[in-house]
Amino acid sequence: MFFKKKAQHKEDQSPVTIERLKHLTSNIEDAIFVEHETKSSKTVTLIYIKTIIDEARLNEAIIEPLLRCEKKPINKCITNAKVSDISTVDETEYKLMTGCIILHDSANNQWYSVRMDNPEGRGIETSETETILYGSKDSLTEKIDDNILLIRRRLPLSTLKTESFNLGSQTKTKVVMLYIEGLTNPQLISIAREKILSIDFDQFLDSSQVAAFMEDHIHTVFPQFQQTDRPDVCSQSLGMGKITILVNNTPFALNAPISFFHLFQSPEDYINRWVPASFLRSLRYISFLLSITLIPLYVALTTHHYQMVPIQILFVLVESRGKLPFAPFWEGVLMLTVLEIITEASLRMPTKSSQTLGIIGGIIIGQAAVQAGFVSQVLIVLVGVSAIASFLVPNYSITKANSLLQLIFLILADVLGMIGIVFGLVILLAHLNGLTSLKQPYFAPIAPFYWKDWLDLFIRAPLQWMKVRPESLHPLQKWRYRKGR
C-alpha cells in the first residue's frame, strides 16, 4: 500500500450486556428486542434484525419451544435448531448482523445464539456465463451453503475438507476454502491459507475481490484464479489437486492454481468426444492468437512489408486503401476503439436493446465507415474476424484483456512491422513465463516442462490415456485410477 496501515477496527472482547446491544443497534429500525416468559416464569430476551431472519421459523423453532419450556435451561428447550453460547460483544454483534437470533436468559445472565437467516435468494439455475450444450446445467448461486452442497453432491468424500474464514471488516464475508485432503499438495493449501489470513480490507462483495488480494502478481492483465459458476468445473479442479474458494453472496468460485492454458479449457471438452474436443481446443488457441495479431498483422503488412503480400491480394489491398485519409495504424486504432465502445455498450444495455445495438454497430456503422472512406473494407473484415475470434476463449477475463494486448501489438506493428509483432510475442511469453498462480508457474506445462501434462494441453486426449493427474500441480495421489482393480 502507498499509505501506512492503521488499525481502524479493534475487537471488543468485553462481556455482552443488553445496554451494549441497545447502543449497538441504536438507529437500526429493524432491530427487535422482545421479551418472552417461559412456563417456569423465566424471562428470555430475543434480539434480532427482522429483515435478515426467517420469521416463520423463528416462531416455530424458538418462540413456541421457549413458551413451553419448564425447568430445563433454555438452550436445552430449543431442540430443532443449533444453539451456541456467546459471551463477547464482538461475537454477538457479528452473529446478530449475520442472521442469528440472540437469546438472553436474564435469570442466569446467559447468552445464546441460534442461526436463522432468511433463506430468500436465487435458486439453482443454469449457468449463463459458461453455457454448454451437454453436461450438467446447474450453476453456483449466491448462497455459499448451496454451493458447498452442489460440490459435495459430486464429490461425496470425507476427505473433501472445508475451511471457513470471515473477510472484510464491514462485509464479514464468509469465505470457504475446499480441498481434498491426501490429494492436494499441502504446500498449496498452506499458501492459500496464509494468503487468505493475511487479507485485511473492509469490503468483499465478489470473489474477484478476494482473488485480487490473493494474486501473486497484481500488475498483469492475466487472471491467476479461474472464476467459474459451474460446480462440475470446481469438482473437477478439486479432483485434480487444486483448491476451490467459495465466497458468500457471489455465484463465482475461484479455482487455483491455474496455468494460462486452463483459461482455454471448456467443461464441454470433457463431454465431447476427444477428436472434436481437441479440434475445438486447438481452434481456441488459434483464435486467441488471431484476435491479438490479425489487425497488427494488417498494419505491419500495409505499412512495412508490402513485399510479403501476393500480387493478387496486393491489388485488393491497394484498391481498398487507395483513397483512405488515415495511415493503417490510425485506421486500426479507430476501428478497435469503435468496436470496444459497441461491445461495452451492448453489455450495459438491456438484452433486447443490445441486439439492436449490435446491428447498428456491426452493419450500419461498419458499412457507413467504408462508404465514407474512413476505413478499408479489408480492415472491416479483419476487425469482425478478430472480434469473433476473441469470444472463442471460454474465459471472459482473457477476452477483456485481448483489446489491450491488441493495442500494444498494434503499436509495435506500426513501429517495427513483423519484427515488432514478434517482439510483442516474446514479451508476452516472457511475461507469462514469469507469472505464478499460488506460487506455481503460470506457463506450466510448457515452462516448466511437464510432457505428460501435454495430453490435456493443446488437445484433449482420450480420458483413458489421462491416467495421471497433472504433474504441474504436484498432487499427493498421482494416479487417477486404483491400481490392481
Binding site: M1, F2, H304, H305, Q307, M308, V309, P310, I311, I313, L416, G417, M418, I419, I421, V422, F423, V426, I427, L429, A430, N433, G434, K439, P441, F443, I446, A447, P448, F449, W451
Partner: protein
C-alpha cells in the same frame, strides 16, 4: 503489500529437469551457424568434418558431464570458490567478461545486421540494438530460473524451422553431384579453419557450468547432453547439405547469410516472403541467449567487485546492462562495419578455446582437489 516486488536474480525454487539441458545445448550450439557459417564452411567434404567434430564435441560433453557429477557444481559460486579459490575465481571472471561481451556483441550486432539487410534497410541499427536489449533485459530481470525455463519456449518456437529446409532437397536443381567431392583433394588452411569454425559453432554448452545449481545433480545429464549435441549435428548436416544443393560450393562462398538467402525463396499462399517472419521468429532464440548472458555478466561483475555477499539491487543490474548497451553501440559505430571479420575470427577462436578448455580445466581441478583432500586424510 509492497508496490515493488523483491528483486532476485539468482533464486532457486525448484530443480529443473534434464530436458532443459538438451534444449539448451542444442539452441546454444545453433546460435552462430546462422550468422557465421559461410566463411569457411563451403566445401561438400565438410559433411565429414561436421560429423567428426560432432563426435569430438560428444566426448567433450562427456568431460563436461563429469563436472556436473561433482559436488562442487551444484554449490554454484561456493563450489567454484572452494575449487579454485577466490583470487583465481576473480581472475577467471575478469577473463570471462570480455568473452561474454564478445559473444553478446556478435549475437546482437549479427542479428541486427540480418534484420537491417533483409527486413528494414532504412531503420537505424542502434534502434534495433536498443529494442533487442530492452526485451532481453526484461527477460533477464525475471531471474535465472525463469529465464532458463524460457528455453522451452525458445526451442519450440524455432526448432520447427528446420522442416522448411526440406523443400531444398526436392528442388529440381538439387542434385547429388552437388555433394562432390566428398573427399578433400588436399588439406588446405581452408579445411582446418572450417574444422575450427564447426568446433567453435558447437561451443556454448560450456556455459551451462554456471547453471548447475538450477539443474541439480542428475545422473542422466550425460544422456541429455548427448541428445542435444546429436540434434545439433543432424541440424548442421541438414542445413549444410541444403545449402550445397541450393548454392553449390562456389556460390556458397559468395553468400553472406546463406540460410537466410535460401528462405527468401520460400513462400506460402498468403505470404510471398516468409523469410521476414522466420527472421523475426529467430529472435526467440537470440533474446533468450542474450538474457542468460546478461545475468552471467552481472554475476561476473559481482564476483570481480567482491559484491557477492551484498543483496542484489535493480540499479546495479540495469547499470551493467547499460554498460553492455553502450559497448554495443560503440562497437556498431566504430568496429562492426570495418573490422567485422576480425571480430568474427576472434569470436571463432575464443569460442573454440573456451569449449575445449573449460570442461577439461574444471574436471582436472576437481581431480587435483580430490587428490589433495585424499592426501590430507
Amino acid at each position: 503489500m509492497n508496490v515493488l516486488t523483491e528483486f532476485s536474480l539468482f533464486d532457486k525454487t525448484s530443480t529443473l529437469d534434464g530436458v532443459y539441458v538438451t534444449f539448451m545445448v542444442n539452441r546454444l550450439q545453433m546460435l552462430y551457424l546462422l550468422l557465421i557459417m559461410p566463411i569457411y564452411l563451403v566445401q561438400p567434404y565438410m559433411i565429414w568434418a561436421i560429423l567428426a567434430v560432432g563426435v569430438l564435441s560428444h566426448f567433450n560433453l562427456m568431460i563436461l558431464s563429469k563436472w556436473f557429477a561433482s559436488d562442487y557444481s551444484v554449490k554454484g559460486y561456493q563450489g567454484f570458490s572452494q575449487l579454485l579459490g577466490r583470487p583465481l575465481l576473480r581472475f577467471l571472471a575478469f577473463l570471462g567478461l570480455p568473452l561474454l561481451l564478445l559473444k553478446i556483441s556478435i549475437l546482437v550486432l549479427g542479428y541486427s545486421e540480418i534484420v537491417h539487410q533483409f527486413v528494414f534497410p532504412a531503420v537505424d541499427r542502434n534502434w534495433m540494438l536498443l529494442f533487442l536489449m530492452v526485451v532481453s533485459i526484461y527477460m533477464a530481470a525475471q531471474g535465472m530460473e525463469k529465464t532458463i525455463r524460457f528455453i522451452v519456449i525458445a526451442f519450440f518456437c524455432t526448432i520447427w524451422m528446420i522442416v522448411l529446409y526440406y523443400s531444398f532437397f526436392t528442388y529440381p536443381i538439387a542434385s547429388l553431384s552437388d555433394l562432390y567431392p566428398l573427399i578433400p583433394e588436399n588439406s588446405s588452411d581452408f579445411f582446418w579453419k572450417g574444422i575450427l569454425l564447426i568446433w567453435s559453432s558447437l561451443s556454448g554448452p560450456e556455459f551451462l557450468i554456471f547453471l548447475a545449481p538450477w539443474l541439480g545433480k542428475n545422473e542422466k545429464i550425460p544422456k541429455y547432453l548427448s541428445i542435444g549435441n546429436a540434434i545439433t549435428v543432424i541440424e548442421y548436416l541438414l542445413l549444410f547439405v541444403a545449402t550445397q544443393f541450393f548454392f553449390g560450393a562456389d556460390l556458397l562462398r559468395q553468400a553472406k547469410f546463406p540460410m537466410i538467402e535460401m528462405i527468401r525463396y520460400l513462400q506460402l499462399p498468403v505470404f510471398e516472403r516468409i523469410d521476414i517472419i522466420l527472421i523475426a521468429l529467430y529472435m526467440f532464440h537470440f533474446l533468450f541467449t542474450i538474457a542468460i548472458f546478461l545475468i552471467y555478466f552481472y554475476g561476473g561483475l559481482r564476483i570481480i567487485f567482491q559484491k557477492r555477499d551484498e543483496p542484489i539491487n535493480r540499479l546495479s543490474f540495469f547499470l551493467a546492462c547499460l554498460f553492455i548497451y553502450v559497448s554495443l553501440v560503440l562497437l556498431n559505430e566504430w568496429l562492426w562495419e570495418e573490422e567485422q571479420n576480425v571480430l568474427v575470427d576472434f569470436h571463432i577462436w575464443a569460442g573454440a578455446v573456451s569449449y575445449i578448455l573449460v570442461p577439461s580445466f574444471l574436471v582436472a581441478m576437481t581431480k587435483i582437489k580430490e587428490r589433495t583432500k585424499g592426501g590430507t586424510f
